[in-house]
């Protein structure tokens, strides 16, 4: 089973993801964090990571909000990249934001682990579409290991 992780400080936006996931009928475990800080602990500790996200393959999909208090989405990516998490456990990250700002798109594209840039609000169709791609991605990475 795959896992969909959402990291977003907005309770409503996490609800919207959860609901879109349910409606998409994609078979995935749903994990949510209300801040990048709380997620950081789980992402940088391999034991906790396995416990929360399940055994490999790792999370198929992380929906990461860009604009959060204190630790934003980009800072979160820098931190987990510095820890080697993204490369080692092949976290597939989609930036998830209300801003359609070209410079942010470009900044997101610079991270190897970022594969898409989704402008809110999310829909069930979008979840289905990215779940298909995410499955392909995690499968491809598994073959390499």
């Amino acid at each position: 089973m795959k896992t969909v992780v959402v990291i977003d400080d907005s309770e409503e936006d996490r609800y919207l993801v959860k609901r879109a996931l349910r409606r998409s009928e994609v078979d995935a475990k749903f994990v949510e964090y209300d801040s990048a800080f709380s997620a950081l602990g789980d992402f940088t500790d391999s034991h906790r990571f396995r416990e929360n996200m399940g055994a490999p393959p790792p999370p198929a999909l992380v929906l990461l909000d860009i604009n959060m208090p204190r630790l934003g989405g980009f800072e979160f990516l820098e931190r987990i990249q510095a820890e080697g998490v993204a490369a080692g456990r092949c976290v597939v990250v989609m930036m998830f934001t209300s801003s359609n700002n070209p410079s942010e798109r470009a900044r997101a594209a610079e991270f190897d682990c970022v594969v898409d840039y989704i402008v809110k609000p999310i829909t069930a169709e979008k979840i289905r579409e990215i779940a298909e791609r995410a499955e392909f991605r995690s499968g491809a990475v598994r073959d390499q290991s």
Binding site: S10, D34, I66, N67, P69, R70, S98, K120, P121
Partner: protein, 339 residues
């Protein structure tokens, strides 16, 4: 004319060396320039590209522009100097430079603002859009469990967005508008601000101590002072620590240099070290769990401080968060009796 510009009566100038009208620290160089001019006397302006200074009778210096015109009568060589006082022009140039620097800064702020607005103003709208779609789906499907909850969420988000827009306008206004100076009682303004937040204070169970706010009348921009008080007090109350048995907010006012120092201290959640500078920027919030804030309050406080010629500082020590707000005053605070 020369008398007027330099402030001497004619009788004190005729027959005197030109150095009398030049600041002493330039005398040596001037002597060299003067002799080299005599060797090659052509009409030209003096010291091109250099800042030339004149010396008035009262000892003050001023910027000048000088044109030189050699005149030969018989076998005698004269030089006519036309001296122009360019103080006003220099002042105008300085003003243009300062205004330009201010505009550059405003423009940078505007860019930062547009960037933040693209997130902070758009985010609630995107969520409202998503929630409205949920309601639509549920109505179509005949599943009504979430409908009312989502309507409430939309209401709350609209309210939040409307407050945010108001705060944005306040922040813009803080920079543009000239506010009037007036005399007001500091203790009364502090008390009024605490009264405006009495609900929040009771809700969060915070003990307030303003015994160290003296009954002083000061002359300043009351509107800015009120806004600063409101923001610091509401922050202190909102970011109180629910885990703490006794929650406290202390307001203190004392003399500091040529003005006053206002201190607002609380034993609440504090500000993490990495956020202590960032909290003063627009749309920055330190605590994910406290969501009522627009992230503009402290940016506004800093703007007010700058417009009043003062500044604001944040420190966190032994579980106490202190905001220190320095305001210079043009007149001494006046001690007032009890009203």
């Amino acid at each position: 004319m020369t008398e007027k510009v330099f402030g001497y009566p004619r009788s004190e100038l005729v027959g005197q060396p030109i150095e009398k009208m030049i600041p002493p620290h330039l005398h040596r160089k001037h002597a060299v320039y003067r002799s080299s001019y005599v060797n090659e006397p052509i009409p030209r302006s003096m010291g091109q590209g250099r800042a030339l200074r004149g010396l008035r009778a009262d000892g003050t210096e001023f910027p000048v522009e000088v044109a030189l015109q050699p005149v030969t009568t018989g076998d005698e060589q004269f030089v006519i100097c036309s001296v122009l006082d360019i103080s006003e022009r220099r002042a105008a140039e300085r003003e243009i430079r300062e205004k330009n620097a201010h505009l550059v800064k405003l423009n940078e702020e505007l860019t930062a603002f547009a960037y933040s607005a693209s997130h902070d103003l758009k985010a609630p709208l995107a969520t409202i859009q998503g929630l409205a779609r949920c309601i639509d789906e549920d109505l179509t499907d005949g599943v009504y469990d979430d409908v009312q909850k989502n309507v409430r969420r939309i209401e709350a988000l609209s309210e939040k967005l409307s407050r945010l827009v108001e705060d944005v306008l306040l922040t813009a206004r803080a920079d543009r508008v000239e506010m009037v100076e007036e005399s007001f009682r500091i203790d009364e303004r502090v008390r009024a601000s605490l009264e405006r937040h009495v609900l929040l204070q009771e809700e969060n169970g915070v003990e307030v101590d303003m015994s160290r706010v003296p009954p002083w009348a000061v002359v300043s921009q009351r509107e800015r002072f009120d806004s600063v008080m409101d923001n610091l007090i509401s922050n202190a109350l909102r970011y109180s620590d629910p885990e703490k048995q006794s929650k406290a907010l202390h307001v203190e006012v004392k003399r500091f240099e040529e003005g006053i120092l206002l201190v607002v201290r609380d034993n609440g959640l504090g500000v993490p070290e990495d956020m202590r500078e960032r909290v003063f920027q627009m749309f920055e919030r330190a605590h994910p769990t406290v969501t009522q804030g627009s992230g503009l309050g402290l940016a506004l406080v800093r703007k007010h401080a700058a417009r009043l010629g003062g500044h604001v500082e944040l420190s966190v020590e032994d579980g106490w968060t202190s905001f220190r707000f320095y305001v210079p005053l043009s007149t001494e605070p006046e001690e007032q009796g009890d009203p």
